[in-house]
Symmetry: C2
Subunit: 368 residues, 2 copies
């Protein structure tokens, strides 16, 4: 299956994914001209009501170091994953933990192997350490080309970064294939599995890599409260790892890196039994609206397993981004080398209707 065929398949899956259009019909802001933020893969729903209340209450304790809250959240996260608090490393966003992974491997040297395109943080963080960076193009499925990555990582020392689902493509790398490699890999190959969008995935071929931390010291799984939990502005993420690996990561982290408002909101969010299903439902609706329009206009896109999608752009990408900006819609930045695509973060259904209307207008102008 070549990329073109895959795009068509993705389009078809997109159509099937439409659900609950009535909710969208109730949307009112299609004519609203406030800026639409469809560029940072945020959860447009905001904090869940219980998380918001917890955050507001925590403001009253803003002058106190949140040591007790930190311990409570680590315990809650550990319980969620069936591990101990010693396996949980909190960070100022999962990005701080990604940095500590790279920093912790700098002394060993070696190679950083990652996809192209993928989330840029790891490549940026290695800069001061001068690791050798090997960028491996996504395969024809827009999945990580694990065979090629494995070849480049060799027997290590290596850090292998796998963002799954991948950002900016929202595509999956089958978990069974990752498992096979981890099972065979020497400990000198460290796997950093970034599951920032884990909770959005509804695909049987996908599961978390977190089970590996029970067996392997060379697997670190990162999660975040920035995406489905709606807390991007509060900065809280975590890693799961074996105790000795977790301890090593902490050596490269600053102290007190979780703030009290985020800790309180996260604890409430984890206890909110409806947050995930509600967010998934709205995301599915938004995705359906976007993909229906793309199908209608004959614009290809990748099947999305996150709260964003990559769709084709005909003509100049920067011009498209600028024109959307002139309509008060911020869409994703260029992700080299996929400069014939734009990353679209999924907003609320009524926000997607506004994007759809704008895109239709662009088509009428012959711009897309």
């Amino acid at each position: 299956m070549d990329r073109r065929d895959f795009l068509r398949t993705g389009a078809a899956l997109g159509v099937l994914g439409i659900a609950g259009r009535r909710w969208v019909g109730a949307g009112t802001s299609a004519t609203d001209d406030a800026t639409l933020w469809l560029n940072w893969n945020e959860n447009p729903m905001g904090l869940s009501p219980t998380a918001r209340d917890a955050a507001l209450q925590a403001v009253a304790r803003a002058n106190r170091y949140p040591d007790a809250s930190r311990a409570e959240l680590a315990t809650a996260v550990a319980k969620l994953h069936g591990v101990g608090p010693e396996n949980v490393v909190l960070g100022c966003g999962s990005t701080q933990i990604l940095r500590s992974i790279v920093a912790s491997q700098a002394a060993a040297g070696g190679v950083l192997v990652l996809a192209e395109p993928t989330f840029e943080a790891m490549a940026r963080y290695q800069r001061p350490f001068g690791l050798e960076v090997e960028r491996v193009p996504l395969d024809s499925r827009y999945a990580h080309d694990l065979a090629r990555m494995k070849q480049l990582a060799g027997q290590g020392p290596a850090v292998v970064y796998i963002c799954n689902p991948n950002n900016p493509t929202a595509t999956l790398t089958p978990s069974a294939e990752i498992d096979t490699w981890i099972r065979e890999a020497p400990e000198s190959v460290l796997f950093a599995i970034d599951e920032a969008y884990f909770e959005y995935v509804e695909d049987q071929a996908y599961w978390s890599a977190a089970k590996w931390i029970l067996e392997r010291p060379n697997v670190v799984v990162t999660r975040t409260f920035s995406k489905i939990y709606g807390m991007a502005g509060l900065r809280l993420g975590y890693a799961l790892a074996q105790k000795k690996t977790a301890r090593l990561l902490r050596e490269f982290l600053s102290a007190d890196n979780a703030n009290g408002v985020a800790l309180a909101a996260a604890k409430a969010a984890l206890a909110d039994g409806e947050l995930l299903s509600k967010s998934r439902k709205i995301n599915r609706q938004a995705k359906g609206i976007a993909t229906a329009c793309l199908d209608e206009l004959g614009i290809g896109y990748l099947p999305s397993h996150g709260n964003f999608l990559m769709h084709e752009i005909r003509g100049d990408l920067e011009a498209y981004i600028q024109r959307m900006r002139e309509h008060n819609i911020r869409v994703g930045r260029p992700f080299s080398p996929m400069l014939e695509f734009n990353r679209l973060s999924l907003g609320l259904p009524n926000e997607m209707e506004r994007w759809v209307d704008t895109l239709r207008g662009f088509r009428a102008q012959g711009w897309v």
Copy 2:
């Protein structure tokens, strides 16, 4: 002047520092048995009203990355110091910046020179980098022994950490003496001047080292919103440095390390014309209550230039800490090698009255 004489002078200064006892008389919580947190050098007043309102409003935007707020705060901080935003490095607390300073010097190797005792973060952060650590006892004034530190730093490479006022002693190192060394030092000696308690100081022999960033690339000054600004739980600090030094520090920091609630609160706090004077006034009152009692009981203490003070303990320090805990008062932990002292964070005046009553009770028991 030996240490004993200095202690007496400190006691005398403490008595002179008493002000506004009437406010204290209005305190009501001396009989309240809620836990008193006199152990983390927090501002007991909490957020200022304007900062609190800004924080509450920012919770509504918790799902959005706070890029705009970050730029605004960097600009406000730059304006405060008469520098440009390129000279400002934000961090998840100033502790994250202290870590980046150590990390940025790891490749050069060399020595980390610091006082004993001082704030522990730097010594902890160098662990994975294996710098040579030289701990220099405070001098007879409980100031940094700059002559000895200079000898150990030599021509570098060296990181010199000067916490001024020093934590845990709350004592000053005269700024003119620091200036003299900085003026003479080669660029291979990097000065990390930690001014976490800067805003509490009311002493003519003290000024910020921030002026040096205009001339020298080897000076970094750190500040925090955790102390007088009452935001310890929100995690926000910053560094001031020359542009190229700031850029180097950012290479060793994670992205998005300032959260939206902290940024909003900090911006409001900086604009609050009364915050500093009110906090200083309450702190002065609290200090007066504590030192009056220490004088009355004949317990020595160091002159305090922060929101905490070091006083002598007769008998076992751990026993004292435990007994205070049994009275629901948390006081400072042991700071080796000053194990004949306890660090007392200053609470609200009525909270200090409760500590005073408890301490008097201890004296009646023959414990102090």
